[in-house]
Amino acid sequence: MEKRVTFSKWTIGILFAVPQLFLIFTFFYWPAGQAVYWSLTLQQPWGGGNIWVGLDNFRSILSNASYWDSIAASMIFAGISTGLAMVIALVLAALTDRQLAGSWLYRVVLIWPYGIAAPALALAFRFILAPEAGFMAVVNRAWPGFWDPGLDGADAMASIIIAFSWKYVGYNFIFFLAAFQAIPRSLIEAAAMDGSGVIRRFWDIQFPLITPTIFFLLVINITESFQDSFGIVDIMTAGGPANATNLMVYKIYSDGFKGLDYSGAAAQSIILMLLIIALTIVQFRFIERRVHYR
């Protein structure tokens, strides 16, 4: 869509965009380019110069088993937490859309988790899921050694998945509810008159109509699970135990800033960038075909 009426002095027009162009050049394009350059050189920490090494950084990262573990951990995390957050939110939104008495309450409350900073909810869940205090301690008394995210990698992974999904259930709920409410009532009423039941109506009418939202949220959730997880991992598990929760974004941080391996971290950043872009494209290609846009 284009404007028919515009202002003729385009030289002035460009000036309006200058602040943003300046910012994105300095803090986006330059660093992004720098990341590509660093990933192809061996950068000495603290400005000791750099040597061109081509794809060596990528080779050494990709031949490192711990990097593949990190990719696997990220995939497991993204898959399970996105699945949980989407399904729970979809069910809650579909039921809230039925507008029974009291459904306003859910509409109000389910948005709250979105406002909570990932590290704050991580600390809350670290306590809630602590093995020696609170509720998991009760379980541990009944089955000693059942739950210990500090020692057991699977428990640690479960902890960060629970915290992340909790936050994104609220986020997804808002979008799902909005999508459900955008469906014309008359459509559903007409179907009901024709004698179709609630479940039939959901699958044949509502679900196809909200597929664009599902698609959109899927992309957002997966991308966010690669980025927004940082605070949760740092507070809850710090990548441990034994790297079981060393997700890709956390590994970039710990290799780059704790290990001072700038080149390795830059190469990992490039891989993560490509992964995020590829995921987005793949989802567009394969899922968009089944999506019904109105």
Binding site: W10, I14, L21, F28, Y106, A118, G256
Partner: protein
């Protein structure tokens, strides 16, 4: 509803109630744990009745993590990011929508791409840029031979340097440098009727005048929504402030939470940790509750 479905209604209520508990329980547990003393908070199972030490714990958490100045820092940063986004995005969207100039679509795409790569994945080089924000410009001058020329002519060696680590600008500017807001405004500006622009032009209003007197007042809702979302987003930033604020005087409330994690081997002071968590999660929560209507509308409009 369309028909009577008592059984389904019963299950709907049941599931929604479970969802309600699922959503509220963590908040409740944090608040209750924050009111216990050291012994009660570590009881197995912890009592779900509130204890009596709430204010004591809040005070201890407040002083232990030095939350007063940290909360102020968080406010300054979150407000700065929100204001920066609201202003700069409006200017850019105005430029893109209301002017025709060569390279306009290129610029559109340059800005659009910034949505794809979040700060987290280009964190290492962004850190380097903030350590010396003039580095890109120095490099350009070196590459184009400009610094060589200046040195020949004036004898002055050009070395531009401006460090922004441990500064509010260093915290704020990189977070402003993405295009989330630009697209919200663009969508909105495109819905503004052409007749309005025509009328303004006939009355002799220039571009700036039209922007300030007509377009901005019309976008009040969008500004409120965008401002809220960006405030929350910036308040909740963790990795970036963690990296660039090595100096305690610029640390954020959210990053200070880490100090409250009970040490292994130390006393499990979960009551203090939860009191701190409560303090830090409260301001954005209040914003969400107050701005709920704007916020939901804006969230759906930006699709972010």
């Amino acid at each position: 509803m369309v028909e009577r479905t008592p059984i389904l209604n019963f299950f709907t209520h049941l599931i929604l109630f479970a969802g309600f508990v699922f959503c509220v329980a963590p908040f409740a547990i944090v608040a209750i744990a924050a009111s216990h003393n050291l012994k009660d908070v570590n009881d197995v199972p912890m009592s779900l009745l509130p204890g009596s030490d709430f204010w004591v714990n809040i005070k201890t958490a407040w002083t232990t993590a030095d939350l007063g100045p940290k909360l102020l820092n968080s406010f300054i940063m979150a407000f700065g990011v929100a204001a920066g986004k609201v202003i700069i995005s409006a200017l850019t969207a105005f430029s893109i929508v209301y002017f025709r100039y060569p390279g306009r679509m290129l610029m559109f795409w340059l800005i659009f791409i910034t949505l794809m790569l979040p700060l987290e994945v280009r964190i290492v080089p962004t850190y380097a840029v903030v350590a010396n924000v003039l580095e890109p410009y120095q490099a350009i001058m070196d590459l184009t031979g400009l610094s060589w020329l200046i040195e020949k002519v004036s004898g002055v060696q050009v070395s531009l340097s401006l460090g922004l680590l441990n500064s509010y600008s260093g915290l704020i500017l990189p977070l402003v440098a993405t295009a989330t807001g630009t697209f919200l405004y663009r969508q909105f500006f495109l819905t503004v009727p052409d007749e309005l622009t025509e009328a303004a032009r006939m009355d002799g209003a220039g571009a700036l005048r039209f922007f300030v007197d007509i377009l901005l007042p019309l976008s009040r809702n969008n500004m409120a929504a965008l401002g809220t979302i960006m405030f929350l987003w910036a308040w909740n930033q963790y990795l970036w402030p963690l990296l660039i604020t090595t100096d305690q005087s610029h640390a954020m409330a959210v990053t200070e939470l880490k100090q409250l994690i009970p040490n292994v081997g130390g006393a499990p002071e979960w009551h203090i940790a939860m009191a701190g968590t409560l303090i830090v999660m409260l301001p954005p929560l209040i914003v969400v509750v107050l701005m709920q209507r704007w916020f939901v509308r804006g969230l759906i409009a930006t699709e972010k």
